[in-house]
């Protein structure tokens, strides 16, 4: 489509007719300063198409202040290969006429026809608004709205325009098929609304992830719950039925037992078994008694046998003893002979021993006398010699004592003498020193005159001539004259005086101790003492010669010797007078030897005798005992009662033996019979039968109890109404299942629909986006070389990817771009839509009112190329108040007056 001519009259500031003619099919630039009427022309074109000629809300078309005006727009244009002429008059004279090729349309028909061809709608009432403008609204950019791209209002029209397209005659076949293809895949006109509604309904039953919710979930839970309830009721009923059946069975069994009494037969068997058991018990008792008797017999027999054996043994023992007695008697006789022999020998040895003892005594008496006599002689001589020695020694001793007393009186030791000498020397030294230092007071008084010297508190009366050494303050009393006080000088005078006094005292003390007047006396005493010592040593040697052991030892020896003499004398006197006969016969040792031999012989013979005597005594005693025993045994055996008992025992043993054998045979037979009868098994039989009877009766009783219990249970069971409850539960379950099934079906269908519609919608969108993007890309390359744009689901540019100065790619949301950039992309999008529509054979016309005023020079230059390119395929009406900016577009500007 392209407009060739535009004429307005009584239209806003164009009170007079204004006409644009010979508009180009491509780019047309209409320029003019503000208020020149560019926007009025734009408004005129919009009014020609969008506003009903009958509209009462288009007062703005009227020139100011001209209420009677009839704003008129007249358009000549090419539409789908046909020339078209549209005249539309508003307000004062409402009219619309369209000539399209050979056809003419009037009024509303004309308007609707155009709307259908161009793809827009009219407002039902009031002013035409954006949402009615459809495709032209998309392609015609109003002043200052280039950056706003709302596809939604055009969407239905786009769809309709593209889908209703028939390939125009003579159009390129490929283009046509492509157009149809694009059209067929455009999004459904009501699709999204339906899909939204379906989604909402799906959401009532399913969660986002497809899980049941709300009513569907409730229905499922209901079905589960009802199923469980029904199952419970079924079980209850089954239990009830089972109990009823059980009751029937029990009653049947009970009645059967009542009639048949099955335990009676067993009772009979039991009685039989018990009888057998009793018989066996009697047998067993008899057997036990027999066995006991057998044991008694056996014991009895054994006792008798022992008795008989004892008798035989006694007889045998008696014979043995008699033999032993004979042997013993023989040995006794032999012993008697031996004893006599021993006794004789002992008597002889005794007499020989007595003779030897007498000889020995005689020999010893002679020897003793001789010895005593010798001792007496020697002791007398010794006593005499000792007596002399004692006399001399006594004398010597007395002299020595005298000497010692003398020596002791003069005794002084060299040490004592040395000490005296030393002290004497010290005194002299001290005196000399004092004299040398002391104040010498030489007094030479006229005789008769005297002075009183008072020193050391000692008052001396001085007369004549004297010298005084004053070592201490002294007062000299001059009678009649006065007194002289003398104070000796020298510091140590007093000390020296004390030393001298000390030395003097020491000497005096030492002398005093020895009892000597002075040192010379001491010297003399020592000389005398040495002399006395020599004499003493001589006297001591003389005494030692006489009494080497001392005087007392000498005296003791003398006393001893005298005592010996006395003892020997006494012993001799005590001796018996000497026997004449035995003089000089045998010596003592010989006599002792003879005596010893005789004594030993006597002891040996005595021992032999003693042994023979004890042996004989033992034999004798044995003999006597044996004789007594034999006598006793003989007496016992020979006893009459014993004999009788023995005979009886023999008799009894025989009879016991016989009886025992018979009884043993009987016991063995009875035991065998008892074993064969198996009383244990019989007892088991009884136990088994007793239990069986008991069990049968117990079972019978239990069954009766069970029947009563069951009857009770059943009568108390909630059987009443259970059937109804079950039916109700079942009904509810069936109805619940039906509801669930319905809801599930609905959910399934909704789910399926949503999924399929979503998928189809997405596919359609994708198919539509592709060609649009292709067209858009073509222009984008002119604006952002290397850039690319992604179409969003509203078929508008969503995001942009372009190369930055540094060569890196950046991607961003279109909405975040600057106003200028958004306007540029908005124009590009419109051109792309126009291309798409044109490809589908639809009319396209682009109007840009004062577009791109916010673009910088560079961008504007790019956009000029874009616009120029678009103008190669579409008519573009560009209105601007900056003619200078568009002088390089290769077309002449049409300046408004």
């Amino acid at each position: 489509m392209h407009i060739t001519r535009l004429r307005v009259e009584q239209f806003r500031q164009f009170r007079q007719p204004f006409e644009l003619t010979a508009l180009e099919p491509g780019l047309n630039i209409i320029t003019g300063p503000n208020e020149a009427g560019k926007s009025t022309l734009v408004r005129a074109i919009r009014a020609a198409f969008f506003d009903r000629h009958r509209s009462t809300v288009v007062d703005d078309l009227r020139p100011w202040g001209d209420s009677a005006a009839t704003p008129t727009v007249e358009l000549d244009f090419q539409l789908l290969g046909e020339p078209a002429h549209l005249v539309k008059t508003f307000l004062g004279k409402k009219r619309c006429a369209l000539k399209l090729g050979a056809r003419s349309f009037e009024g509303v028909d004309a308007e609707d026809h155009l709307a259908d061809l161009l793809g827009f709608t009219f407002a039902g009432k009031g002013a035409s608004k954006t949402e009615h403008w459809g495709i032209p609204g998309l392609l015609w950019v109003e002043q200052g709205t280039g950056q706003v791209l709302e596809v939604a209002p055009a969407r239905d029209h786009l769809h309709k325009a593209l889908s209703n397209h028939q390939a125009p005659a003579g159009a390129d076949a490929q283009d046509a098929s492509k157009g149809t293809h694009v059209a067929a895949n455009l999004a459904a006109s009501r699709g999204d609304a339906v899909l939204d509604a379906l989604r909402a309904q799906r959401g009532e039953l399913l969660s986002g992830t497809g899980k049941p919710r709300a009513a569907l979930l409730q229905a499922m839970e209901d079905v589960d719950r009802l199923t469980a309830e029904l199952r419970a009721l079924d079980e209850q009923m089954a239990l009830y039925s089972q109990q009823v059946d059980q009751l029937a069975l029990l009653r049947q069994a009970h009645q059967h037992d009542d009639a048949a009494q099955p335990w009676e037969a067993l009772k009979a068997q039991l009685a039989e078994a018990q009888a057998v058991q009793q018989a066996l018990a009697a047998q067993e008792h008899q057997l036990a008694q027999d066995t006991a008797r057998l044991q008694q017999l056996q014991q009895n027999r054994d006792l008798l046998q022992a008795q008989l054996q004892a008798h035989a043994q006694a007889e045998a023992a008696l014979a043995t003893r008699q033999q032993a007695l004979a042997a013993l008697a023989l040995r006794h006789d032999e012993g008697e002979a031996l004893l006599a022999t021993a006794r004789t020998a002992a008597e002889r040895a005794q007499s020989r021993s007595a003779a030897a003892r007498a000889a020995l005594q005689a020999a010893r008496a002679v020897a003793q006398r001789h010895s005593l006599q010798a001792q007496q002689t020697e002791a007398t001589a010794t006593a005499e010699r000792l007596h002399h020695a004692l006399q001399r020694a006594t004398t010597e001793h007395e002299r020595l004592s005298t000497l010692r007393a003398e020596a002791a009186a003069t005794a002084i030791t060299p040490a004592q003498l040395d000490a005296l000498r030393q002290r004497d020397r010290a005194l002299r030294d001290a005196t000399l020193q004092r004299e040398a230092v002391a104040t010498r007071l030489q007094v030479d008084l006229l005789p008769g005159q005297h002075l009183t010297l008072d020193t050391h508190g000692q008052v001396l009366t001085l007369q004549g001539q004297s010298t005084h050494l004053l070592d201490a303050p002294a007062t000299l009393e001059l009678p009649g004259v006065g007194r002289l006080s003398i104070s000796p000088g020298g510091a140590d005078l007093a000390e020296l005086a004390r030393d001298q006094a000390q030395a003097e005292a020491d000497l005096a003390a030492a002398l005093n101790k020895l009892g000597l007047p002075n040192l010379a006396a001491a010297e003399a005493r020592q000389a005398r003492h040495q002399t006395q010592q020599s004499e003493l040593r001589l006297a001591e040697q003389a005494l030692a010669l006489v009494a080497p052991q001392g005087l007392d030892a000498l005296r003791a020896a003398l006393a001893q010797a005298q005592a010996r003499v006395q003892a020997a004398t006494t012993a001799l006197q005590a001796l018996p007078p000497l026997a004449e006969a035995t003089s000089d016969a045998v010596s003592v040792p010989d006599a002792e030897a003879l005596h010893d031999t005789a004594e030993q012989a006597e002891r040996r013979s005595q021992q032999a005798l003693s042994q023979a005597q004890s042996a004989q005594a033992a034999l004798h005693s044995q003999l006597a005992a044996a004789q007594a025993e034999i006598a006793a045994a003989q007496a016992a055996l020979a006893d009459a009662s014993h004999q009788a008992r023995h005979a009886a025992a023999q008799q009894q043993w025989l009879s016991a033996q016989t009886e025992h054998a018979a009884l043993a045979a009987r016991v063995e037979q009875a035991a065998g019979a008892l074993r064969a009868a198996r009383p244990d098994i019989v007892a088991q039989d009884i136990q088994r039968l007793q239990r069986s009877v008991q069990q049968l009766q117990q079972a019978h009783q239990q069954r009766r109890d069970q029947i009563m219990l069951l009857e009770n249970t059943l009568q108390n069971a909630k059987a009443a109404g259970l059937g109804e409850l079950r039916e109700q539960a079942h009904g509810e379950l069936v109805r619940g299942s039906q509801r669930l099934s319905q809801l599930q079906r609905r959910a399934d269908a909704l789910n399926w629909l949503c999924q399929r519609l979503d998928a189809k919608r997405q596919a359609a969108l994708t198919r539509l986006q592709a060609p649009l993007q292709q067209h858009m890309q073509r222009y984008l390359q002119l604006l952002f070389p290397g850039g690319s744009v992604q179409i969003d689901e509203h078929l508008a540019p969503g995001s942009l990817t372009r190369t930055r100065a540094n060569g890196a790619l950046e991607t961003g949301d279109v909405s975040a771009l600057s106003f200028g950039a958004r306007e540029q992309l908005g124009l590009i999008s419109r051109f792309a839509y126009a291309d798409l529509l044109q490809a589908a054979g639809r009319p396209t016309l682009l109007m840009l009112d004062d577009a791109l005023v916010h673009s910088d020079d560079t961008r504007l230059a790019h956009m000029k190329r874009v616009i120029f390119d678009a103008a190669q395929r579409h008519q573009v009406l560009l209105f601007t108040c900056h003619p200078a900016l568009w002088r390089d577009m290769g077309v002449a500007e049409r300046a408004l007056p």
Binding site: L198, E724, G731, R745, A764
Partner: protein
């Protein structure tokens, strides 16, 4: 002239719980009111006795209230009610009968024939030979003892049994509780009143099923009747007259749909049903979208005007036509999905697929129609 009212299969206590609870209560109650009508009929026709041939109760475990209610419903007839248990209410050791007796609910004129022994009603001119079920199922013929059971001369021999006559009603009945078809002849019975088959049916002149007085199943047999049995004298052939008792009629409607007029027929049929009809609708075949919508509308209508309607459209396929599709005016991806659905419906891979596609189509169509 001895006259009896033969009925059976009351199935008292049946719940219809799968139905709408509102309907279920009414249908359950109808079973007891049917007994009241039976009592009225018995009185009206002055019968000697009412023969109730088993399955009086639907289950052993009905509530006490139901038991009492039933015996109260019998009050309209003062003559003897001769009742035997059937397989549903067998005379077990502990049963609904023992419970009824314990409750003291059984009136003196209700004779519970729980044991197979002759009962003589000499003053009324007949003897009854009952064959009560004492187990839930039995595989022997419980009427066999009738053959050798003596009854006083001059009295009618009336048999009462519950089970399946051998070789006659083989289908749809389990073979338990068999009854020999020639029992009346072999046991010299004047009449053998049977229960178990819920429709009225004559097996032989002396051998009848009365059917249930109030239908409880969607089976188009002669249910809802009672039999008035006239027997002139021992040995005379009975004259049997069916009497209507039922309050509700149960219908099983099955239709195979292929052309639009088939839909018209079903719609018309549904429109004819009223408050006393209980309907089971089972549709097969296929229909287009408008047909489907008409059916849905008709079913909705019928559901409101009948006592109960249950519709099974599981085997009915909805196949939209080109016009249907065009009318939906679906374009773009909606159109694609619609086309896919239509394709699936035309050649479904499975019944589930078809159903899913149908549901989805219905949903989509609903939204597109908005």
């Amino acid at each position: 002239m001895p006259r009896f009212l033969h009925t059976a299969d009351w199935q008292i206590g049946r719940q219809f719980a799968t139905f709408d609870p509102e309907h279920a209560v009414i249908l359950a109650e109808a079973r007891t009111t049917a007994v009241e009508r039976l009592a009225a009929l018995a009185t009206e026709h002055q019968v000697q006795a009412v023969l109730v041939a088993g399955d009086v109760f639907d289950t052993q475990t009905v509530s006490d209230r139901v038991i009492r209610r039933l015996f109260q419903a019998m009050a309209g007839f003062a003559g003897p009610w001769l009742m035997i248990p059937g397989n549903h209410d067998a005379a077990l050791t502990e049963s609904v009968w023992t419970r009824a007796q314990r409750l003291g609910a059984v009136p003196p004129n209700a004779h519970l024939l729980l044991a197979p022994e002759v009962r003589v009603f000499a003053d009324l001119g007949f003897a009854v030979l009952p064959a009560p079920l004492t187990q839930r199922h039995t595989h022997g013929d419980l009427t066999e003892w009738f053959d050798l059971a003596p009854t006083p001369d001059g009295l009618l021999r009336i048999g009462l049994g519950h089970g399946s006559v051998q070789g006659i009603l083989a289908e749809d009945i389990d073979s338990a509780n068999p009854i020999a078809p020639d029992r009346p002849e072999r046991a010299r019975l004047d009449y053998l009143a049977l229960g178990d088959w819920h429709g009225a049916k004559a097996i032989s002149p002396r051998l009848w099923y009365s059917g249930t007085p109030e239908p409880d199943r969607f089976r188009n047999n002669d249910a809802g009747l009672a039999l008035l049995v006239n027997i002139d004298a021992p040995g005379a052939e009975p004259v049997v007259q069916p009497l209507p008792v039922a309050q509700f009629t149960w219908h099983s409607v099955t239709a195979q749909l292929s052309v639009p007029t088939d839909v018209d027929a079903v719609v018309a049929q549904l429109a004819a049903f009223g408050r006393t009809d209980v309907v089971d609708l089972h549709l097969q075949g296929h229909t287009d979208w408008p047909g489907h919508q008409r059916l849905q509308a008709a079913i909705g209508q019928a559901d409101a005007q009948t006592r109960h309607l249950q519709a099974d459209l599981g085997e009915l396929r909805m196949l939209p036509t080109d016009d249907d599709m065009a009318a939906l005016q679906a374009d773009g991806y909606l159109g694609e999905v619609l086309a896919e659905l239509r394709q699936t419906l035309a050649q479904p891979a499975s019944a589930d697929d078809a159903r899913l596609a149908e549901d989805a189509l219905a949903l989509l169509a609903t939204h597109l129609a908005d």
